[in-house]
Symmetry: C2
Subunit: 207 residues, 2 copies
């Protein structure tokens, strides 16, 4: 298969979200132009993105919303579920566990770990916090495939290494550091401070 740009994957989720909404509203077909308008993307972009994965459209008519929805769900792995562990149960970690936005997406938060012994045994939502020492056991018993790193910067690399040693190959990193990982491991960085700071750059350099 031809190499698919990073951004394409990300946009497929946007299309899927929109298409799902359209299907729910009983709209049967949509053109790339309309879909683009709804997502603030160009029609060409929509077509090219979809084009990486097959021929889903019909000339003169557009895309069937139900078909495209199913196709995208398949492509994006929505037909499967993945088990997620959150490491670091501070403000952010707790919020992520409780954040309802994740619930519906085939991602199951089933473990929470923290180094603070005072937190161990307490509950966040329905999950009982476990000691970080238990990490290898938790990962294998609960078949964790995605690890969320929500610890302070200083501890992030160490946590990443523990997760990887336990076999986790996908990390979502909220700590503001560049993690060092081998190339078989996929890391997504979400740096909230940096996002905000970027706005302050914009403000400082406006006009």
């Amino acid at each position: 298969m031809k190499k698919v740009p990073e951004g394409t994957i990300s946009r497929l989720f946007i299309y899927l979200r929109e298409i799902t909404e359209l299907a729910r509203m009983n709209i049967r077909t949509i053109s790339s132009a309309e879909l683009g308008e709804r997502t603030n993307l160009s029609d060409a972009q929509v077509r090219k993105d979809l084009g990486y994965f097959g021929h889903f459209g019909v000339s003169g008519a557009g895309y069937d919303t139900n078909e495209l929805k199913q196709a995208l769900e398949k492509i994006l792995g929505k037909d499967k579920t993945w088990n997620v562990a959150v490491v670091g149960v501070g403000q952010l970690g707790s919020a992520l566990i409780s954040y309802s936005g994740f619930k519906k997406h085939g991602l199951q938060f089933i473990a929470a770990l923290d180094a603070d012994t005072k937190k161990v045994g307490k509950k966040v939502g329905e999950i009982t916090i476990e000691s970080i020492g238990e990490l290898p056991k938790v990962v294998s018993n609960k078949k964790i495939t995605i690890g969320i790193i929500a610890v302070p910067a200083e501890g992030a690399q160490e946590v990443a290494e523990k997760l990887m040693a336990a076999g986790v190959e996908c990390l979502l990193n909220f700590a503001p550091v560049s993690l060092n990982v081998p190339e078989n491991v996929k890391v997504k960085d979400v740096d909230l401070s940096r996002e905000l700071e970027t706005l302050s750059y914009f403000l400082a350099n406006k006009k």
Copy 2:
């Protein structure tokens, strides 16, 4: 000035973070190669990024950490402070307000608004939650320049419009929708579900 790539700005914050750490450790100079190694970026990338803003290095020696730190702080608007309002005080909104990661960055969270009248009057950290009806007043009284949208997808566009009508030109949007904004307004989207889902794509398509 030549057009500066999006990514460059983002990386400047990474350099600044690293440089600040180095300066704190009394390391006086650093080469682009070393800085690149510490941030998992190439030496050429480091030099090119800095090159957009001036000549900060010395051939044969590298960059003076203190000088570079100051220069970056200036470029990135760290010498100023900006007032931030959070709209939507749910799990995520509360976590953002309390998240200590922001405190040190010249970004002051000084207002929180919510549509839920039951929340109005309550406190999150040191901030008292105000009604969303008060938004125009709050923005102008408190000189808000950055708005954080942490409401459900359905309400996001409306909140964005209220903020913009009140004069806010920088938005950090956590709602999973594409906001429609005029081009003088800068929006940064942080879509946590999408980040996680991207990992599930990776898992589904591994090997």
